[in-house]
Symmetry: C2
Subunit: 199 residues, 2 copies
């Protein structure tokens, strides 16, 4: 069975997004390049980590990572990623509002799951088979999985910046020790992988 993992690009103070995430600013009140510049400006140097983000058999994400629509799905929204999203597998979007699946180019289909993270994980497992499952974000969703003991591996990509407010990794997660699996520093980012230590 594949592992359940998350990749989060965060500031030195742990924020994966600023306040006021919205359609024009998916990362809210923060210069997005502070958090994700390393993926684009230094792709060659960070290729292993960038490519690993989408190496999964299925994907789970929070609704706010999928898009800016809140409440009922009252408009046609197909994600931030254009007609051919980078996931190329089944993406389970956590939401309180049911909606029919949306099939995209390249093998990505967005499914909308209204019965919580365990249900989403079960559906993702059925889809992923022996492959890993990516909990793509945002931080709130990753924190839910961490708090529930459902995440096997957290890959933080720590950028040299202070964001100060927004969506923060570890918020609401019970105190615990972690195992630090690996550290790799490149010019723009420090990659640290942790595994929760289950009792």
């Amino acid at each position: 069975m594949g592992i359940v993992f998350s990749d989060l690009a965060v500031s030195a103070d742990g924020f994966a997004a600023g306040l006021n995430q919205r359609e024009e600013e998916p990362f809210g009140d923060v210069d997005q390049s502070w958090l994700t510049g390393w993926m684009f400006d230094a792709y060659d140097e960070n290729k292993a980590e960038v490519d690993a983000i989408v190496e999964s058999g299925a994907t789970i994400m929070g609704r706010n990572m999928f898009g800016p629509v809140r409440g009922e799905w009252d408009r046609d929204w197909r994600g931030w990623w254009g007609p051919n999203p980078p996931y190329h597998n089944a993406v389970f979007v956590l939401t309180h509002y049911p909606q029919d699946p949306i099939e995209m180019e390249g093998g990505t289909t967005f499914h909308f799951v209204t019965d919580g993270i365990e249900a989403a994980l079960e559906r993702a497992r059925a889809e992923a088979g022996e492959q890993g499952i990516s909990v793509a974000g945002g931080a709130g969703t990753v924190n839910q999985f961490l708090a529930a003991g459902l995440l096997d591996e957290l890959r933080l990509h720590i950028t040299p910046s202070i964001v100060g407010a927004g969506e923060r990794v570890f918020d609401g997660v019970p105190p615990q020790r972690l195992e630090r699996v690996s550290v790799r520093a490149t010019s723009l980012v420090t990659h640290i992988t942790y595994r929760p230590l289950r009792p």
Copy 2:
């Protein structure tokens, strides 16, 4: 002129101490070994970083790092470190309550500064000469120096743990980019040094 630096041992979520710091538990409601175990249990491996913490010409610390006494100095308190503290220089303790200096063995003298961080820094500079000045903590004091643009180097020693609440590095510090100067991982801790990027 020496640099102004801080060393903070923090959890993965940035806490340098838990809630409820008190005489019996200087680090509050957290197992102190989670944050500082690497300094003692793996000293050989982390010798360079541990030794560098006290390589300064003068030291500045917040009152809560100096001790558990709050309000007036209504009891004899000489720090947590016994008769011969590890600083071996002039230590300027930030407080609102004046008190005469306390001379310890080994060259450490605690001075009590009631007129703020700039005044403490000025006195520390006069004492340190060409040597560096250590802002020893806690996190609240380090954050004050960061927010005021008075810190040249922040050395985080990130331990694999989630603490969840307490004194957190970067709280209240304005959003900004940092320069990441160095990263070194040993078995129990990840050392990351940042420099604020002044405009």
